[in-house]
Symmetry: C2
Subunit: 154 residues, 2 copies
DNA sequence: AGCATACGTAACATATGAAGTTTCATGAGA
DNA sequence: TCTCATGAAACTTCATATGTTACGTATGCT
């Protein structure tokens, strides 16, 4: 199955919003992400419920960041997305009666649990501010320009 | 997305075969796994190519283990399955021009790479013999019986 | 008030891949 | 020769992320 890119996508959106003082419409964001405005709204819905972003209707409306980037981690964002599955593999059954399968599940399950825990730990250790800082570092390294142009096709 | 259970399934099959001196048919294995014989053959195809198992047609035919369980790791089996994707998440694009997305990709990519490496490391550290030993331990702990009955519905 | 803008949501279409199924060919043994 | 079992192709089913259309609703400008 194609890999889920919602976390990647929503982070992209958030960093763009962080560079933009005014509200950004779903359509602007969709253009930057080369996708559909409705997809953006879907991604942002969970974040709005948690108060990480804010949306305004009508003229001059759109999406604004409503949190301190230093206080929100990728784990918070991941949870706001509904905690999509992390691993593409899993055990065949949950609580098998077969002892053979129990042995298999125990071995694989340990590995799976560790991998998931590692990912969540990494997510929790990264703030949006850290991501933004990395972006600005790349920007300075590349052009030294203060222009916030982010090199999208548009 | 439903999680890929091929590794879990094929390990289950192998351990059952290890308890069975005679060849086991796809149909017997399918019954134990509550699935279809063709699914079993698909799973086993890659393992046969690598010489981990052997198949015989006709009367008295079926599948036999053709390797030293102590010499084959879960990583070998994983590779024989064609190295199915491990993570359900990924970056939206591979080599984005957008610096924002580059920053996101770098952060997430590191975490993803680490998680994958952890899984492969764990797979490589576990032999089929270790799994089998764990099974026998569970068997002794549960019944103390030498009966190899593995508690499948049948 | 009336109109344009932009989100909110439902409904539907598309694409991908694992898993399940059917069918037939092939080869091995009784 | 007949039966058993694998090998392989083709098809269906199912789940889910993603894409798209359409319409309702709220906001703000004129």
């Amino acid at each position: 199955m194609r890999r889920d890119s919602r976390l990647s996508g929503v982070l992209h959106v958030l960093l763009h919003m962080a560079e933009h003082p005014d509200p950004m419409t779903s359509e602007m964001l969709a253009r930057a992400m080369d996708t559909n405005p409705v997809v953006i709204r879907r991604l942002m819905g969970g974040l709005r419920e948690r108060g990480f972003v804010q949306s305004e209707k009508g003229h001059g409306g759109g999406w604004t960041i409503a949190c301190d980037l230093r206080a929100v981690t990728l784990l918070d964002i991941y949870e706001a997305l509904g905690q999509p599955g992390l691993l593409a593999m899993g055990n065949r059954t949950e609580a098998p009666g077969c002892l053979v399968e129990q042995a298999v599940n125990a071995a694989l399950g340990d590995a799976f649990d560790e991998a998931e825990a590692l990912l969540l730990r990494r997510f929790g250790a990264l703030t949006l501010a850290a991501l933004s800082a990395d972006f600005h570092e790349r920007l300075a390294r590349r052009g030294g320009s203060t222009d916030l142009e982010t090199n999208h096709a548009a």
